[in-house]
Symmetry: D2
Subunit: 335 residues, 4 copies
């Protein structure tokens, strides 16, 4: 198994999906050991750091990548399996950013209110107990919360010659901000350009569904992944496979459209797996869907449609790619 | 403990929240053993029954009730604890109804498409194995799915003199269609009129989150509940307490507004329980929220914000009402 | 021509569409001379009157009516022609109401902001010059604006046993808040209950499209109208005919759904008038539609689709009802 | 006055805002005589041409440009004044494209319907009578409609390193598809990159508000414009000044957010012009706003907020730039 290790210097960060030169070329099957900076570029370090003073909103979610995958062509499917996600620092940060978030007026949900107060919360990480510590800023609470590492952004270059900022989720993946993107998951993305040009970033030590204030427990992450290539079979919307679930992520506005996209995406997948007619799949999904939200704050909102494998007859999606990658991962971890 | 048993005759069904005369008066603390007809009024009985021929969409979701709760006044809080939900028939039905559902044009998401094909699926119930059986209509699949009984509609009379059909969810509860409304849950609803006038109906033997085709596994239900009254403290949006979770249900359009309402509702609840400042609660909720959708098909869409109690310091919401009702329920079940 | 004059006493106001006893019975063809109180119930009289102190939001938009129209049955069409709208006072009021309006968080677009400042603007009316005077409250501007009287609410009792507050627009008409509802216009509404039970209110001395702050130049109005009955032919959504335009009003959320409803409503109307296939009507409407918004603030948003008659071959909608009512109106005004 | 004439060869078309090399450099004040191909790349020429066979949806709205404006820097304001728009062909085309449009399921408003029928309508232009002729395809109607030329796309390179397809409207302008973009109008766009890199295209011989089927009367256009540069003062959203109106275009989803953006944009502009406090401007705009929709079909929807100058005290926006450009245009036309 090829192994690539890469930790970008700040001047190597990518800030977009598409539009950046590949930082490395990798062959399918490569095990990659990557480091990702946090969404704030590491600039929020104490509770007194104000986002409006420390951040440039055009440079958030620094990406590690993009990586050119040998042989990847438009119409192919990239399979990115997350072997391991480990916090790379002993602290993480979250903040309310003026006019950003789900429960505030924004540049698009434009209102006449003053911005909400800017606050920064620093979470200390206790590695032994695998918790981060929430400390209330304007009231009295200290609370340990389990670490549940995930990646906010996983994406490839968009179709149609587009270049999108690393704040945006869409058909190319991107800033989906879903807790489903965790170690043990395989993400399937349709390839739009030669080499796919995928990148990852925006590690969260934990995040609730919806990410309402707009920022999770943001922290630098050591990311171990395996990248594989499936010829053809590009899904319209990103798919995620876990040991226990199939999931599809839709990203759009209003939120019902994000959800609709994820539902139709899952109906399509159920059709592929079981030969189900679309109306039968619609009926079945109605009774078994899990519909956890991902984010309701980004340039597009993201909604997830999940189904539990245990409710369904066993099938090997993509010829068993996920199982294969789990084996490869187990193999890699025993090195 | 007072016990009331009631099974409505068809001419006794209520079709609205508000606007119907109370069918019974009950005192707080009463154990109620009710029967509810299915959403279709029992009219879909075989796969050849077409919704457009069998149903009158002005008469769906027949309600058992409304019940006048002695002493309930506007501003009070009704606590309805579901002791037990048991399928009352050995089969249930689901269907695609023309221009109704989440992945079709509707009367409001008006489009120029022909309606999707009308199909009815009948699910046989196996009580012993506690499964219902999905049988594909236009393809080849037969699948046993666990029975997970829930109620689609739980509501009181609306505020502002309004009368709403039993198809609508809103601040008064109603057709929220959330799988969270199951045995063991306590639903808190703000009282808008003297006597509260609550009713229940629309039993589902199981339902996925979002209820995409618009109809769950719809079946008649034997409902055992305890109704209690809390003076004052009316929440703006319906709250649900389970042994493991607090939940708030928001209902509106677009879907992000339903979600926003549920999030702000939970921030308010966390403030009540922990004295948390609203921005601290916003931050905390961002990291711990579960956001499963309820329905994306009704006149309003419904979104749920849940938090796991195990992540939080122990508290007794409403002075321990849920625990008290669990005890009463255990007591009642041992009769 | 029968003539009915009616000016309600405060205890006679209706606050809902549906649910109120008819205040008068009228025969089709009756000329009605009505007085309507302003949306605030006349309670905002000076710039120092605060909405939160003076208003009860459950009692706004007092309705004059409802009127029982003899012979009206479900499925029929009520034609209400506005002969004349005259300001009944020499002043009018507008205000920012906490958490109400298009550019503020609301109970549904729930956010964590403090409410915008509460302000009341009083507009003096100059009858001779037919202007109202805008006087800025927190800056320096005094501006005369033409009086363009219109009615915010025109509605019948809803279908499906519902009762809706006079703040809501929907298929039954109601609080559509469109400047198209002016003298010279005929409003066609589908009848849902025996007698139709229509009412009017919420006079505006003028209003912009969208009614962004939530309140127009609100003033008591002398309303002269003729009510007629067309057997059958109930439109799904309210239609308005003017000398120069056909219009359809859709009301829903999100705003694109309100617009879709109005567009499909117009495609249907063009089909009725010209025998146009729906796709041809879709194409034609694409090139000739005017799409002014009505309100983006109420419980449902309202969007208007208009087409100019001058672009189309002459037709007599509803057998020339509008022309006939214009003649009747001219006749009535010459008494 | 510098004069630049440019008519791109097909291989010179730009398909994006941002990301393309400038095709010419121009100095502020230049009069430009441009030719733009139609949205379909000229590929729909008869009623039998099917969009799905003739079009590649990744290559629609070919842009003439981009042009590098000397001296333009981020934060500046580009003023593009349309001197004249003349149909460059004697026919134009419109079509229903599968899963594209306002009254059909789309890739985002994902549904399970089959696509609507694909139809193409060819409009013949009668230059003398200045009409285009609508001919129904599946029913019987032939209708002459006035030519009212406009440009669907006017845009600069986006901020944040982004590249967007020419199908998208946003803060950078782009595919706004508003009939307000006509001869006599000046469009003000904030500059995001050195040289601004503006382009134009997507001529419509006429279009209704909302552009419901997704395609207007699409035709090649001879475009005469003057480009000017204002240092600083970049507006957040595109502004349009006509002799009679100020307008702001907001583009987002859901449609209420597009409208909110345009309303807040106009409140800001009124503040700049009159020193109005934001709440006073909110109140004033509520009573004078015109709110015609632009498109409800593109990747973002676009809504326009307009105010009539005749209702307001006279002011010279941008130091009278529009008036100056009108004079320059008159001068140019008399050559």
């Amino acid at each position: 198994m090829d192994v690539v290790e890469f930790s970008p210097r700040p001047e190597q960060y990518a800030w977009t999906f598409g539009g950046a030169e590949p930082i490395r070329r990798v062959t399918p099957g490569t095990l990659m050991k990557l480091w990702t900076e946090d969404a704030f570029g590491g600039r929020l370090q104490s509770a007194s750091d104000k986002p409006s003073e420390k951040l440039d909103m055009r440079e958030v979610n620094p990406q590690t990548g993009p990586f050119y995958v040998e042989g990847a062509e438009p119409g192919d499917t990239l399979a990115i399996h997350f072997v391991d996600l480990q916090p790379a620092r002993d602290w993480a940060a979250s903040a309310t950013i003026p006019f950003f978030g789900g429960l505030t007026g924004t540049d698009r949900t434009a209102m006449l209110h003053e911005p909400l107060p800017e606050l920064t919360w620093i979470y200390q990480l206790d590695r032994e107990r695998q918790v981060v510590v929430f400390e209330a800023q304007r009231s009295d609470m200290r609370l340990e919360l389990p670490v549940e590492p995930m990646l906010g952004t996983v994406g490839v270059a968009p179709a149609g010659r587009e270049v999108r900022t690393s704040l945006v989720p869409d058909m190319f993946g991107g800033n989906m901000d879903t807790p489903e993107m965790r170690a043990g998951a395989t993400c399937y993305l349709g390839v739009n350009v030669e080499g796919a040009l995928f990148s990852v970033g925006d590690g969260h030590y934990r995040q609730g569904e919806g990410e309402s204030c707009g920022t999770a427990v943001e922290g630098a992450m050591n990311v171990t992944l395996i990248v594989e290539l499936i010829k053809g079979h590009a899904p319209v919307w990103p798919r995620i496979e876990q040991d226990g679930h199939y999931a599809v992520v839709g990203s759009s506005r209003p939120l019902e459209d994000a959800w609709r996209a994820s539902q139709v995406g899952m109906i399509t997948w159920l059709g592929e797996l079981y030969g189900l007619d679309r109306l039968d799949a619609y009926q079945l999904l109605t009774q078994i869907s899990e519909s956890p939200l991902a984010n309701v704050v980004d340039a597009n909102y993201s909604a997830v449609t999940k189904v539990a494998k245990k409710l369904l007859p066993a099938r090997d999606a993509y010829d068993g790619m996920h199982r294969y990658l789990r084996q490869q991962a187990a193999h890699a971890l025993t090195y």
